[in-house]
Symmetry: C2
Subunit: 186 residues, 2 copies
C-alpha cells in the first residue's frame, strides 16, 4: 500500500522524465490504480501543487541550514564562502529531483507558490548580500542575478548529465567552479 509520500516520489520521478504524463501514467508508475491516485489527490493540479510545495520545502530547508551556518560564520570571508559552496552543492544534489517543479507551467501559474518562491529568493539574496560585503562575491552584479545564474547552471548540469556529456559525480564541482570563477581562462 503506497504511502502518500511514495506516491509523490514516484510521481516526481515520472514527471521529471515526462512533464506531460497523464494521471493514468502516474498511477501506473506509482503502482496503484487511477482511482486510488484520485483518492490521494483530488485533481492533477492538486498533485502538481503538492510537488511544487515539496520542492519549495526542500529549498527552504537548505536555506535554513545555510543561514544558520552564515550566522556562525559572521563576516569571515572564508567561512562565508564555504557556506555558499555547500549551499550550491546541496542545490545540485536536489536539482535532479526537483527540476520538474521549477519549470512546469501549472506550478509556475500558482499564485501561492510563486509568492513563496519570491520570499525564498529574497532570503537567498540576503545571503548573497552578506557574501558581497565580505568580498566573496562580485559587487558589480545585481543581487538577484546570483540566484538566476545558479539556477541556470543547475539546468545546464542536469542537461549535460542527461545527454551524457559529463559524469553525474562531476556535476557539483563543475557547477561550483563555473559559477564562481567562470569558464574563461584566468
Amino acid at each position: 500500500m503506497a504511502d502518500r509520500d511514495d506516491v509523490l516520489g514516484a510521481a516526481q520521478r515520472l514527471l521529471n522524465a515526462d512533464p506531460t504524463a497523464s494521471m493514468a501514467a502516474v498511477a501506473e508508475a506509482v503502482g496503484i490504480s487511477r482511482a486510488t491516485l484520485h483518492r490521494h489527490f483530488d485533481s492533477r493540479e492538486a498533485l502538481l501543487v503538492e510537488l511544487g510545495t515539496r520542492s519549495l520545502d526542500r529549498w527552504e530547508q537548505r536555506l535554513d541550514e545555510a543561514e544558520e551556518q552564515a550566522l556562525e560564520a559572521g563576516e569571515d570571508p572564508g567561512r562565508l564562502r564555504a557556506v555558499l559552496e555547500e549551499l550550491v552543492l546541496a542545490y545540485v544534489d536536489d536539482s535532479d529531483a526537483f527540476a520538474f517543479a521549477l519549470t512546469d507551467h501549472v506550478i509556475l501559474a500558482n499564485a501561492a507558490l510563486v509568492e513563496r518562491t519570491q520570499v525564498l529568493a529574497d532570503r537567498e539574496a540576503a545571503l548573497v548580500a552578506a557574501a558581497q560585503e565580505a568580498g566573496v562575491l562580485r559587487r558589480d552584479l545585481p543581487l538577484r542575478w546570483f540566484g538566476h545564474v545558479t539556477y541556470g547552471l543547475l539546468v545546464a548540469a542536469r542537461e549535460a548529465v542527461r545527454i551524457g556529456d559529463i559524469a553525474p559525480r562531476d556535476a557539483g564541482r563543475l557547477v561550483l567552479s563555473s559559477l564562481l570563477a567562470g569558464v574563461g581562462a584566468p
Copy 2:
C-alpha cells in the same frame, strides 16, 4: 494574408509565452482561421518541428559567422576571445525568440532535430577547443560543458528579464561577464 513566415513568427511568440497553446490559439494569435493554419501545417507536430528547424537554422547561421571570424583570427587570443564574445551576445539576442524550441518536449523528441543539435554542438565545441588552446578558455573543463553553461545562462537571463530582476539591455553584459569570469570576487 499571412505569409508562412508570418505564421511561424506569430506562432513562435505565442508558444514562447505558453508552450501548451492549442492550434486554435495559434491561429487566433496569427490572425487567421484554424482551417488556414492547417493548410500551412498538416499537424501541430509539423508546426513545432518547423519551429525547431528555424531555431537550429539561426544557431547554424551564428556559428557560420563565428567560424568565419575565427578563421581570420587564427590563434590570436584577443581576436578569438572577441569572436566568442560576439557569438554569445548573438545567442542572447536570439534566446528570447527561440527559447521555446529549446525546451519543448515534442521538439526534443524529434530524432532529426536532436541529431542536428548534436552536429551543431560539435561545431561549437570545435570553436571552444581552439579558444582553449589559445588560452582564452579554461582547459580543465570538458569541451561540451561550455555549451551547456552558455545555454544555462541564457535560461537564467531570460527568466531574470521576465521576472523583472534585470533590464533587458543588461542581459548581454551580465551573461558574458558571468560566463567568462563567474560571479565570485576575483
